[in-house]
Amino acid sequence: MDLSTKEYKRCAVVEVSGRIDSATAPELAEAFNELTSEGQYNLVLDMDDVEFISSAGLRVLIDVQKTCQRLNRGKLVLAEVPEQICEAFDLAGFVALFDFYDEQIDAVGSF
């Protein structure tokens, strides 16, 4: 898994490629922790190049969303989610917990 973070005026974007599984999910969690510890709670996860995400990754997303939405500080939104991953999100009941955007620019613009 590779990831990069870009900080904008009103949000930060985390772009991830590769696999998010039990081996790599901690690194994703750490990237988000660094942002929230700096007080950045408006977050975009760009999943365009994510090949695979397991429940370990989904748990990270839930935890980050809880942190962001606590005290209405912000939210985590998801951009460019591959179709097969969308289906897994739907099965896990995640669709109601996140906002989804087809393009990163729209996700950034939502803040």
Binding site: S22, F52, L58, L91, A92
Partner: protein, 150 residues
Amino acid sequence: MFKSEQRVFPARFESLSAIDHFVADAARRAGLDPCAVYQVQLAVDEACSNIIEHAYGGVGDGVIECVLDVADGEFTITLRDYGKPFDPQSVPEPDVEATLEDRTGGGLGLYFIRHLMDDFQFEFDAKQGNLLMMIKRIERGDCREPQASR
């Protein structure tokens, strides 16, 4: 003609990628469509993660034996480990309609296996180890809903 394939992996999270390649490559050659291949990848990853974390307690010196086979239009994945057994019935299904505050993300692994595979079976034996067999039917066309959900 698909021939049975078997490989043994160290039971460590670092093995998940190699297990995924092994299973996904075989699933494609067996004729599963891309959607079904992803469902198999997800179910296998969840099962192996559970073996590593729960059966072996996260300590990395166990093994996962993985056997892949095709028969009667079905792609079968058999995983065997020699760690602690567990009772699948004791793992509650997550409430996928719960609000964010009530979601923990726990229990999703077994939930995915139940809902993504057409059939599955656990067996636990003190000498033979723990076995999980998962079946995905090979059907062409648009991605379809799996049949098993128990």
